[in-house]
Amino acid sequence: MYACQKIQTVQKFPFTLSNPPTNTKRLTKYIVLLCFTKFLKAVGLFESYDLLKAVHIVQFIFILKLGTAFFMVLFQKPFSSGKTITKHQWIKIFKHAVAGCIISLLWFFGLTLCGPLRTLLLFEHSDIVVISLLSVLFTSSGGGPAKTRGAAFFIIAVICLLLFDNDDLMAKMAEHPEGHHDSALTHMLYTAIAFLGVADHKGGVLLLVLALCCKVGFHTASRKLSVDVGGAKRLQALSHLVSVLLLCPWVIVLSVTTESKVESWFSLIMPFATVIFFVMILDFYVDSICSAKMEVSKCARYGSFPIFISALLFGNFWTHPITDHLRAMNKAAHQESTEHVLSGGVVVSAVFFILSANILSSPSKRGQKGTLIGYSPEGTPLYNFMGDAFQHSSQSIPRFIKESLKQILEESDSRQIFYFLCLNMLFTFVELFYGVLTNSLGLISDGFHMLFDCSALVMGLFAALMSRWKATRIFSYGYGRIEILSGFINGLFLIVIAFFVFMESVARLIDPPELDTHMLTPVSVGGLIVNLIGICAFSHAHSHNHGASQGSCHSSDHSHSHHMHGHSDHGHGHSHGSIGGGMNANMRGVFLHVLADTLGSIGVIVSTILIEQFGWFIADPLCSLFIAILIFLSVVPLIKDACQVLLLRLPSEYEKELHIALEKIQKIEGLISYRDPHFWRHSASVVAGTIHIQVTSDVLEQRIVQQVTGILKDAGVNNLTIQVEKEAYFQHMSGLSTGFHDVLAMTKQMESMKYCKDGTYIM
C-alpha cells in the first residue's frame, strides 16, 4: 500500500522529471515488464477484435468497464481509503466517466473498422508523443529540426495508412448494405463516415486519429481531478464504476430490443477476462509504475516499440495455426484470412510510426533561442533570451484580423486588391464546391488554377501593405521598394504562366485531344465577368502607369511643374504622391495578372464557339498560343521597368531635368566641379541621389549645400546627400593613411575636374 501511495504522488506530476534512477539493473527490470505488458496488450486487442464480431460494441464496452471496475474497486478500495469525495468532485468524476466512455466507444469502433493492427499503430501513442507532435504543428517553437522531422514522419505514416494501404476489407465493407448495422449508434457513425466520402477503413483511420487526440486531451484534463480525488488509480476505479452505471440502462435496452448473436455467453468469459486483464488493468498498472520509476520520455520510447512490433507480428500470424493457442476464441472457421492483413503500406507506416515515436518522445535538447543583439567589446556575440517569451504573447486572432483589415482598407491600392481577391476567392470556392457536388473534374481543376492565380494577388496585397511600413534600421529607406520587387515577381509569375500555356498549346498542336466543351462556357463566362470587374477596378491605376511609365515628356513635364509648385511652399517632397502613383509596379503586376486571366477566359469562349460551330479542334491550341504570346508581350515592359529600378538606373523620366539641374549646378558661384553623381529611383515616391562637389576654399559649404539641394529637389530628387570637398579635403585625405592608389585617383579626379567644366562630361 505504501508503494502504491508513493507511485500516486509521483503520478500527480508525471511531467516533472522524477529523478531517473541511475541503477540500470533496476531499470532493465521495468523495461522488460513494460515490453511484456505491451505485448500482452497487443494480444488483448486482437482478441477484442475477434470478440467484437460477435458482441455488440456497447455491450462489449459495458462488460469491459464492469470487469475493470470490479477489479479496481477490489484492489484500490476507493470508498474505504482516502478522504471522502465531495459532491462537486462526484460531478467531475461523472464528466470524466462520460468522456472516458465516448473515447473508448470511438476507439473500439475504430477497431471494428480498420482492424487491430492499424488500431494499435494509430492509437497506442503515449501522451508525450502526441503533445510534442501538436506543439510542432501548431506552435512556432517546435523544438528544432529533429522534432519537425518526427512530426513529418508521423504525418507520413498516417498518410501511408490512408493512401497506400489497400486493405482488402475495404471492398468487402463497401458491399455492405447500410441497414445491416446493429444499432442506431453504429449506424450513425457509419453514415457520418459515408458522408465524408471515404471508405470505411479510411474513416476508421481518421476516427482513430481523432480519438487519439481526444485521449490525450482527456488525460491532460483529468490530471488535476486525479490529484483532487487522491490519485489516478482511485479516480480510474470510480470513473469505471460510474461508467458502468451509465452504460447499464443502454445495455438493458439493447439486449431487450435486439436479438443477440452470441450463442453462449459462458464460452466468452475466458476471452473477456483476458481482454479486461491485458488491455485495461495490467496496462494501466504497469504504465503507472514505469512512469514513476523511469523518465516519461524513456517510458514512452520503450513502450511504443514492442507494441508496434508485436502488432505487426500478430497482424501477420494471428490467423495462422501457430497462434491458435494464444487465441481464447477459437472461431477461425468463419473468418477469411484476407481480412485486415499486412500490406506494404502498413509496414511502411509502422516503420514511420516507430521512428516518429522515437524522435518525438526523446527529450528536447534545444537550447533557448536567443536573438542576436550585438557584440561585446571582446567581439563575442551577445544574445537576448528574453524576447522569445514576449514575442509569443501575441495578440488574439480576431484582434489581429481586425487590425490588418483596417490597415488594408486604409488605402485605395490595397483596398482594391483586397476586394478583388475576395471576389476571386468567392468565385473559386463556388466553383470548387460545385465541382465537388457535380463530381466534375474540369471544374475542380479550374478552381485550383484560380487558387494558383490568387497567390499572385495575395502577394500583391502583402506588398501593398508592407510598402507603407515605417522605415527601420535595416530597411533604412523605408519599405517602398517592396512594391517594385513584388511587381517584378509578378512579372516573372506571368512569364512562367505564359511559358506553361505555350508548352501546353504546342503539345496540343502536335496531338490535339478530344475536348468536352459543354461545361466550359458557363465557367469561363463567370470568370470573364469576375475579371472584367477587376479590370474596371484596376484600370484607373493602370492608366496612371501608362502616362508615367512610357516616359512621355509631356505628362512628366506636367507633373513636374505641379511638383515644383508644391515644393516651393512645403520645401519637402511629400507632394510626390501624384507622381508616385505612376510607377507603382505592384499594381501594374496585379493588373496584368487580371488582364491575363481575362484573356484566358475570352480565349476559352472563342475557342468553344469555334469548336461547337465549325468543329475546329485546332482552335483551342491556337487560341492558347496566341494568349501566351500576348501575356508575354504585355509583361515585358513591366519586367524591363522593374529591372531598371532594381538596377538603380537613372530614372528615365527625370533624365532631362537632372541634366539641366547639373548644368545649373555648374554655374553656382564658387563651385569648381562635381563628380560621382548618382541618382536612382528608390521606390515609387523616393528618388535618391548622391553627389560630390568641389568648391573653392573661400566658399561657405553650407550655403553651397543648400543651393545644390534646392536645385536637385526641383529636379525631383527628394533624398539627397552632398559631399562638399575643398582643396583641404584632399590634403587631409592624403595626410590620413588612405591607400596610395586611392589618393592618386582622387587627386587625379580633382585635377581633371578643374579643367573639364562642361556638364556633358558626366551625363
Binding site: I474, Y477, C643
Partner: protein, 438 residues
C-alpha cells in the same frame, strides 16, 4: 516567342545589342566552358522533358525543373563575367554589379514559381491519378542527377556560391545537419565529411533523386501511382526550402537594405554604396572632419558620400561657445535617437564632433566591401528639425541603439599620420569606449 520581336524595331536592336554583348563575353575563355555546359544542359533538359511526357510522371517533371534552374544558374554565371567587363555607364551610374544580384533573385524566384506550379498540378492529380510508366523514370533520374552534380561541382559559380554561403540555412540543410550531427555522435570519424555546411544544391539534387528512386520502386512493386504525386510535392517543397533563403537574401540586397554583417559589426554607421549625413560643431573644420569620416568609412563602403551639416551656420554671430553636439538628420526618413556618450566629447577636437549616418544607402551587390569594419564615431542625441522645413519622424527603436562606438585617439593632434592606423579590423577592435550594452 522570339519571332514576334522581329516585327518591332527597337526590339531587334535590343537583340543586336544582346548579340554584341554575348560576343564580348564569349571572347573570354572561361565562359566557353559555361557555354558548353549550357548547350549540354539544353539537350539534357529537352530529353528529360520528353521523358516526362512519356512517363507521365510529375515527380520527374519537378526534378527536371531543377535542371532548368541549373541553366539559369549558368546564365547567372555568364552575367557575372559580363558584369566584371562592363564599366558604369551614365545612366547606370553605379555600374552593373547589381545585375548579378538580380539574376540570382530571378532564377531562385523562377525555381519557386515552378515549384508552385508543380504543387498546383499535383493537387489536381490527387483527384484523378493518371497511370505512370516507369520505363524512363530511373534513366531520367540518373541522367538529371549526374548532370546536375557534374555541373555543380565542375563550374565555379561565383554568385551562387556566395549567396548560398551568405544566406541563412534552408530547412533541408538544417535537417541534414541535425541528422549528421547525431550520426557523428555515433561514428566520430565521419565528422569531417558531414559536419561542414552542405551545399544546398547538391543536397536538393540528391534528395530529389532519392525521392524518385523510392517512387520507381513503389510503382514497380505495387503500382502505387500516388507515390509519384507525393514525391513531386516533396521535391517541390524541398525546392521551396532551398531557394527561399537565397531569394530572401538577394531580395534584401535589391531592396537596398542595410546589409546584416554591417549592422551586426558596426552599429549602423556604415552602409555600402552609401551616403552619410554628418553634423558637426560650428567651430570645427569641415574639411578635416570630412576627411576623417571618409577615411574611416571608405574601407567599408565602396561608393561613399558624406554630407557635412553644420549647426547654426545661418546665425553664426549669435551663439558663442560650442553648441551641444547634436546630430541632425537631413533626410526625411528617420532619426535615430541615441544617448549622449559621456567622455568622448572632449577627447579631441576632431572626433568630438559627432557624426551620424542617415539616409543610409545600402548594400550594392554581393561582394561589395564591407566585411572589414572600422568602428567609427560616436553618436548621440536629440533631434530637432532644422529650418529648411524638413519633416522628421522619430523611429522608436532605441533599444537597439543604446550602444555606441567611440573612437578615441584618432588623429588626435595635427599630425595626421599619427594615431590612426587603418586596421581592417574585426569587430572586436579595441578602440571603443563608453558602450553600454544591454
Amino acid at each position: 516567342m522570339g519571332t514576334i520581336h522581329l516585327f518591332r524595331k527597337p526590339q531587334r536592336s535590343f537583340f543586336g545589342k544582346l548579340l554584341q554583348e554575348f560576343r564580348l563575353v564569349a571572347a573570354d575563355r572561361r565562359s566557353w566552358k559555361i557555354l558548353l555546359f549550357g548547350a549540354i544542359n539544353l539537350i539534357c533538359t529537352g530529353f528529360l522533358l520528353m521523358w516526362c511526357s512519356s512517363t507521365n510522371s510529375i515527380a520527374l517533371t519537378a526534378y527536371t525543373y531543377l535542371t532548368i534552374f541549373d541553366l539559369f544558374s549558368l546564365m547567372t554565371c555568364l552575367i557575372s563575367y559580363w558584369v566584371t567587363m562592363r564599366k558604369p555607364s551614365p545612366v547606370y551610374s553605379f555600374g552593373f554589379e547589381r545585375l548579378e544580384v538580380l539574376a540570382v533573385f530571378a532564377s531562385t524566384v523562377l525555381a519557386q514559381l515552378g515549384a508552385l506550379f508543380i504543387l498546383k498540378e499535383s493537387a489536381e492529380r490527387f483527384l484523378e491519378q493518371p497511370e505512370i510508366h516507369t520505363g524512363r523514370l530511373l534513366v531520367g533520374t540518373f541522367v538529371a542527377l549526374s548532370f546536375n552534380l557534374f555541373t555543380m561541382l565542375s563550374i565555379r559559380n561565383k554568385p551562387f556560391a556566395y549567396v548560398s554561403e551568405a544566406a541563412s540555412t534552408s530547412w533541408l540543410q538544417e535537417h541534414v545537419a541535425d541528422l549528421s550531427r547525431s550520426l557523428c555522435g555515433i561514428i566520430p570519424g565521419l565528422s569531417s565529411i558531414f559536419l561542414p555546411r552542405m551545399n544546398p544544391f547538391v543536397l536538393i539534387d540528391l534528395a530529389g533523386a532519392f525521392a524518385l528512386c523510392i517512387t520507381y520502386m513503389l510503382i514497380e512493386i505495387n503500382n502505387y501511382f500516388a507515390v509519384d504525386t507525393a514525391s513531386a510535392i516533396a521535391i517541390a517543397l524541398m525546392t521551396f526550402g532551398t531557394m527561399y533563403p537565397m531569394s530572401v537574401y538577394s531580395g534584401k540586397v535589391l531592396l537596398q537594405t542595410t546589409p546584416p554583417h554591417v549592422i551586426g559589426q558596426l552599429d549602423k554607421l556604415i552602409r555600402e554604396a552609401g551616403s552619410v549625413h554628418v553634423r558637426i560643431r560650428r567651430d570645427a573644420n569641415e574639411q578635416m572632419v570630412l576627411a576623417h569620416v571618409t577615411n574611416r568609412l571608405y574601407t567599408l563602403v565602396s561608393t561613399l558620400t558624406v554630407q557635412i551639416f553644420k549647426d547654426d551656420w545661418i546665425r553664426p554671430a549669435l551663439l558663442s561657445g560650442p553648441v551641444a553636439a547634436n546630430v541632425l538628420n537631413f533626410s526625411d526618413h528617420h532619426i535615430i535617437p541615441m544617448p549622449l556618450l559621456k567622455g568622448t566629447d572632449d577627447l579631441n577636437p576632431v572626433t568630438s564632433t559627432p557624426t551620424k549616418p542617415s539616409s543610409p544607402p545600402p548594400e550594392f551587390s554581393f561582394n561589395s566591401p564591407g566585411k572589414n569594419v572600422n568602428p567609427v564615431i560616436l553618436l548621440n542625441t536629440q533631434t530637432r528639425p532644422y529650418g529648411l522645413g524638413l519633416n522628421h519622424g522619430n523611429t522608436p527603436y532605441s533599444s537597439m541603439f543604446n550602444q555606441g562606438l567611440g573612437v578615441p585617439g584618432i588623429g588626435a593632434t595635427q599630425g595626421f599620420r599619427t594615431g590612426f592606423t587603418n586596421i581592417p579590423s574585426r569587430y572586436g577592435t579595441n578602440n571603443r569606449i563608453g558602450q553600454s550594452r544591454p
